[in-house]
């Protein structure tokens, strides 16, 4: 067989390619699969959180804020545990960002609260003296797009088997089940129920009134998303 290969350089090249490609696959694929599996404690986004994520992307928050904590002492002191690849399993697309004009937001839900975000999005410099972040006042009046968020949920549940309505393991051994509505109306109702919890912690009467009237301002969705970043 080896003599045959030596006489047929083309098939020899194909054989070499196959051997090296196989070695590469055996080395790379298992690690890749392992690293892209969601880590314990990572749950899919709820409808409202996903709508908030769309607000985040729409306003290009990721142009100034990264979502990637590097394993350096100075970073983990400030932002918390360094990021693991499996924590992005339900991020489509991931929002790592490439530049920090503002601080990292990977775990902002651990150390900022609903009312802080409300104050901050209305007037960043009023909360953080010298902040160059602009105010995002329109988020308090624009309505969040729940329908699109629900469409995304349906898609990822179908195409990527994202575990909605299934128990997801948490770090303390318990499980949580992120619910997804079975139709648009139910999804909207669930998002509104979630928005009411957020609005209860907010100060602005306009936002409270809007949520009470069944409308969800973008700020509520965005805060739901930011609070989910842990």
């Amino acid at each position: 067989m080896f003599h045959w290969l030596e006489k047929h350089p083309f098939f020899f090249a194909v054989g070499v390619f196959l051997v090296i490609a196989f070695a590469g696959l055996v080395e790379i694929v298992p690690n890749f699969v392992q690293a892209s599996r969601p880590v314990i404690g990572t749950a899919p986004y709820s409808t409202l959180e996903l709508a908030g994520r769309h607000v985040y992307i729409k306003n290009s928050c990721n142009a100034c804020h990264s979502q990637l904590i590097r394993p350096f002492k100075s970073e983990t002191d400030r932002y918390g545990h360094y990021s693991l690849s499996g924590e992005y399993a339900y991020d489509r697309p991931f929002l790592w960002g490439s530049k920090r004009t503002g601080p990292d937001l990977m775990r902002v839900g651990n150390y900022r609260t609903t009312d802080w975000h409300e104050n901050h999005m209305k007037d960043p410099a009023g909360v953080v003296p010298g902040s160059i972040m602009p105010a995002y006042r329109w988020m308090f009046t624009n309505k969040a797009d729940i329908d699109t968020a629900y469409a995304e949920q349906l898609t990822v549940a179908k195409v990527f088997s994202t575990p909605y309505n299934k128990p997801v393991p948490m770090k303390d051994g318990s499980t949580v089940t992120v619910k997804m509505g079975s139709n648009v109306a139910e999804a909207n109702a669930m998002a509104l129920a979630e928005a009411k919890v957020i609005a209860a912690d907010m100060k602005g009467q306009d936002v409270k009134d809007a949520v009470a009237a069944g409308k969800i301002p973008e700020i509520v969705a965005l805060i739901a998303y930011l609070n989910s970043l842990k």
Binding site: H3, E6, K7, P71, F72, K73, T76, D77, R78, G80, Y82, N110, Y111, R112, T113, T114, D115, W116, N119, G126, V127, V128, P129, D201
Partner: protein, 305 residues
């Protein structure tokens, strides 16, 4: 004489000539580096010429012997020679080295980003403990201030005034609004390291009157506590609150927090558990280390003194 020897001599002479011409005689051969360089240059030329001549002569004069393999490739044959012993030994040594490298060499010595991070953290923690582990008094307050400016000022403000009510004003222990809210709604912040909640107004009896606490009494005792345990309302406090918070309002360990003044223990508990009350929610800051929490406690305690 074979032509190759002649060329060898010419080449050697030429190279030595170049070496001579390029040598800087101003500094002479006094310097050991110069001496080594010149000796190396001469050795290099001589060895190269010797080796080249040896193998060219070998190619010119050697004749082949041994048994040819049956097969030919484009007319080029191959001898069926034994594998030289040196090669065989090197081959097996390489295999042994390969097994060592695969099982021990690489896994044990490989660079790991997380490994470097862990070492970094260990080194930093050791340095922190050595440098700050035992500080007290003013230095502790100073550390607390710098931690405060890094972690707490975004909500409580640079001067800890709570930025117009966006967060608690830490320059005084407690405000009327907060006392009142807690009495009305109760509290279950786990601040004493236990789950025991404070009841809301429907569970608060005034020992003096033997009835549930009234609106007027709530207002009075809220003002009393917020004014630093002075003024009217002392009797309500004594009758209703003192059984848990102590007669002087300084709290009891594992039972109720100090409402008269900040203490490092109280601040540490809030940093560990977070808090939800009249103004809003404060997240927990348990990623600070124990000394930093103690320092923040010392700093906040010093603010209201």
């Amino acid at each position: 004489m074979n032509k190759i020897y002649l060329w060898g001599i010419i080449f050697t002479a030429a190279m030595l000539g170049f070496t001579y011409m390029s040598f800087d005689f101003k500094h002479g051969l006094s310097d050991i580096v110069n001496q080594l360089a010149i000796a190396g240059a001469i050795a290099l030329v001589l060895i190269s010429v010797f080796v080249v001549i040896k193998y060219v002569r070998q190619m010119q004069t050697d004749t082949a012997d041994g048994q040819l393999a049956a097969e030919k490739w484009d007319g080029i044959g191959e001898y069926l020679n034994e594998l030289p012993m040196g090669w065989a030994i090197m081959f097996f040594l390489t295999m042994i080295w390969g097994m060592w490298y695969f099982t021990i060499g690489y896994p044990v010595n490989a660079y790991s980003q997380i490994g470097e991070y862990n070492e970094d953290v260990r080194a930093h923690d050791a340095k922190f403990t050595a440098q700050y582990g035992s500080i007290t008094g003013d230095r502790l307050v100073e550390m607390g201030e710098s931690v405060f400016l890094a972690e707490c000022k975004v909500c409580h403000g640079l001067t800890a005034d709570g930025i117009d009510g966006k967060a608690a004003n830490l320059n005084k222990r407690i405000e009327v609004k907060s006392v009142k809210y807690t009495i009305l709604n109760g509290s279950n912040n786990g601040l004493m390291g236990m789950e025991m909640p404070m009841p809301d107004r429907n569970g608060l009896f005034n020992g003096n009157s033997g009835a549930l606490i009234t609106d007027a009494e709530i207002d009075a005792v809220s003002a009393y506590v917020a004014n630093g345990m002075t003024g009217a309302g002392a009797d309500v406090f004594a009758g209703t609150c003192a059984s848990c918070h102590g007669e002087d309002g300084k709290g009891m360990e594992y039972v109720a927090p100090n409402v008269a003044q900040f203490t490092p223990a109280l601040v540490t508990n809030i940093l560990n558990h977070g808090k939800k009350a009249a103004i809003g929610t404060m997240p927990k800051f348990d990623r600070l280390n124990a000394k930093q929490k103690e320092a923040v406690g010392a700093y906040i305690t010093s603010l209201s003194k």
